[in-house]
Amino acid sequence: MASGTFVTDEYGRPFIILREQGKKSRISGIDAVKSHILAAKTVANIVKTSLGPKGLDKILISPDGEITVTNDGATILSQMEVEHQIAKLLVQLSKSQDDEIGDGTTGVVVLAGALLEQAEALLDRGIHPIRIADGYEAACALAVAHLDKISDVVPFTRTDTVNLLQVAKTSLGSKIVSKCHDKFTSMAVEAVLSVADLERKDVDFELIKVDGKVGGSLEESELVYGVVIDKDFSHPQMPKAIKDAKIAILTCPFEPPKPKTKHKLDITSVEEFNKLKQYETDKFEEMVNRVKDSGANLVCCQWGFDDEANHLLLQKKLPAIRWVGGPELELIAIATNGRIVPRFEELAPEKLGSAGVVREMSFGTTKDRMIVIEECANTRAVTIFIRGGNKMIIDEAKRSIHDALCVVRNLVRDNRVVYGGGAAEIACSLEVSRAADSISTIEQYAMRSFAAALDAVPLTLAANSGLSPIETLAEVKSSQVKEKNFRLGIDAGLNGDNDMRAQHVIDPLISKRQQFLLATQLVKMVLKIDDVIMPGEGDGF
């Protein structure tokens, strides 16, 4: 990236000039690695305190002064606008955990931070970064294999959802919605199950829409078996509720057709003028009649209508919703088993969607109205509708419910679980440090460090819960070994029981595994960087 030039001075000694050297900073070797580790630790320290059921939230203020209050690792990191390159890598890390799994975004960053912290100590002892990376790799493989061993299968069916509820509960435990824990967990589970395809073990998230409106309180949130759209009927005098709706879903505007190619229409005489006028009126009539003829009694259109079209629709008793966004339109189409019709000519009775009830809801004292489409032909589309005292709570509740949805989905895909509360980490840590002793190379040290880093998650959990971290960890660790019970973890909820199975604190196996793999991968990458050349200020980047 920076172009260096090789020159010699008057005595023939070679040296390298970097272009605009004064403006660029360059660090290399161990210094570079250490500086990176420091940056990563700083990031990990920020999110550390949000881990676990007693974790706290962060306020993030955007460049425009907008406020986000959140507990979600991925959201914190993505909104805090870091500039440091390595810190950016960590942001990416939590984002990929979010994309892949949807939960455990804080845990993965804490783990990566701890791994790097341990690596720093090893570097001080003179171990080469690559050897550390190799050791971590081996340890990670061991840990992941061990996770498989200690995993349990939780059975569930559409009717027996107790286990799913428990998992969703664990995920929501650390969020603000824990206020109405049961309500939100059951909403998440029901939403996932109603769209899930249990045979294919697949959950289509497109069918679950999460929507919110300020006002009321979190308890008034509800799961709507249908679609909610933030629009109202196009004409104030259209009926506010429609039974047995047949819905025409249109992506063509209610206006005279126009060719895509650029064109001009010249009016040169009075006859033409009159003809054009007639054509226009006929066209409107025709469009509305086509819709009417197809048997529809509700029109959802992606575009706006002309006043004239609007009135014609009213006259023909065709309630209509205009300016429905693309994704919503698709959702309506899926929910009502309708087809999206791009041209009036293609409207046909079989392409209409059907729904039991379409009604308008109004909120509060302002002009807030929404349209709810319920009892749809296809019951699989659902909307989670969140109410709350203020905007920040709703945003945070949306994020939380998304996390919970992801966790439940993961279980539907793969119903193996490990125990939370740091239990899985402690078990893996024990396994890795046991295995480390039998390794004859330097990697042994790296593996021990890996084991120590795994302890960071339970340590943080304990610290966040107000327990004495080291004491608690030592206690749990020794009882895991003594009782050979890998289900023991940190009692973060302060319920007086360490058995995570009894407390129903469970995480999907794939989520934990992904955390281990992603964190190790990132650490390996950071350790391998030994030279950074940064463009200086004002370098045009």
């Binding site: 962060k58 206020k179 309180s217 009016i267 009135h311 005292g389 905007k391």
Partner: protein
Amino acid sequence: MSLAPVQIFQDQATEERAENARLSSFVGAIAVGDLVKTTLGPKGMDKILQSSNGDIVVTNDGATILKSIALDNPAAKVLVNISKVQDDEVGDGTTSVCVLASELLKEAEKLVNAKIHPQTIIEGYRLATEAARKALEGSAVDNKSNPDQFRRDLVNIANTTLSSKVLSADKEHFSELAVSAVLRLRGSTNLEHIQIIKKAGGRLSDSYLDEGFILDKRIGVNQPKRMEKAKILIANTPMDTDKIKIFGARVKVDATGKLAELERAERDKMKAKVDKIRGHGINCFVNRQLIYNWPEQLFADAGVMAIEHADFEGVERLALVTGGEIASTFDHPDLVKLGHCDLIEEIMIGEDKLIKFSGCAAGEACTIVLRGATSQMLDEAERSLHDALSVLTQTVKETRTVLGGGCSETLMAKAVDELAAITPGKQAMAVEAFARALRMIPTILADNGGYDSSDLVSRLRAAHYEGKSAFGLDMYNGTISDMRALGVTESFKLKKQVLLSAAEAAELVLRVDDIIRAAPRRREAM
């Protein structure tokens, strides 16, 4: 290099952590609470808000005050937001919700300083909120089945709401006004159907509710000024030149003569349109859009009253009042529902001419005419009336009522105190703190009235423990007395929303232990 602290954020981005973050959010929230505190209650004071361009607003409404001040503190913004939501949702109680949230945080600050974990406080607050809500629900009275009693309730609620506003001098007048207006809506919560017209001049008590509907517009020139048994067509259609809507159409002629012909065709088209409109057999035509001189003249010739440029709400309200539909096409006169009213006339309020529609077919909308000495006064009166109307419409939906004057708060505080006594563990301290925060509301009410708050509130508490659970502060005599007898009633929904929103906001702020402020977006110099 490696030892220097690593800057991971952009320049100018700041981070406050743990105690600092908590301190800054507490300070911000408490400051907001203190700011609006003095406006609470019937003896609360107003604030003058001066905007940067010199406009002055005098108000007592919490939401209006908070909306107008620019705040930088995140916790303060949370409080502003809850007061805004309270305004949207219930319409009143915007000050109470802020004060309660900030009192909750004040109490929480003490607990945090006593080394209690924020999560423990939150747990305690949650328990307390639940207990308070149950107590509130228990004390709520529902008079839905008895229309007379219910109407009295509504009047009382309006009285309570208005007593803290500028209208308090004429509150009986205004509460009657508001209640009649709301009852006309028949359960609809759409406040747009109540039109408020402000005209400077006269006294506040000259304000009145008009049975009919008043439109702040003029009747076209040369047209009848008075119309009995009017048949009204309400329309939303262009009456200037009827544009051709086909994309890309334009006129291209090669001679002036042809241009003239075309112009004539256009005129004919308009005339045809006017004829079609007249074909509905109407004698009044109201359009949302402009009516040009030519069609206006045509209407005048035909003796039809034409009113142009009635804004959207005006048209919608008119449609509701007269029972007509808003039309845009005129080819099927038989299908269009016309509006009817007995009399349309031009009236004078102050110096302005307005159009009044009286004796309408459907009476679901109405007009309140506000009179007052200054425009600030009128604005504040409108806000107050709007608050009262909002609360009333919400009460028509959720008919339960509770008692005001600090009675409900004391009642809830008592229930929460009882809960604290039986709660084991550290949460109990938070529960107690919650009760203290609730009791701060009557304390502030008394303070604002200039009474001895410690004496009054302790007497009030004692009265509640004696079982006189309807007792509250009598703000006019400086004593405690039975609120039900005094008729100080508030909407249950309002009180519930205040409690829940404040608790939610306090929780939200309490959970924070880190504030990260991104570098402000650089703006180009203007």
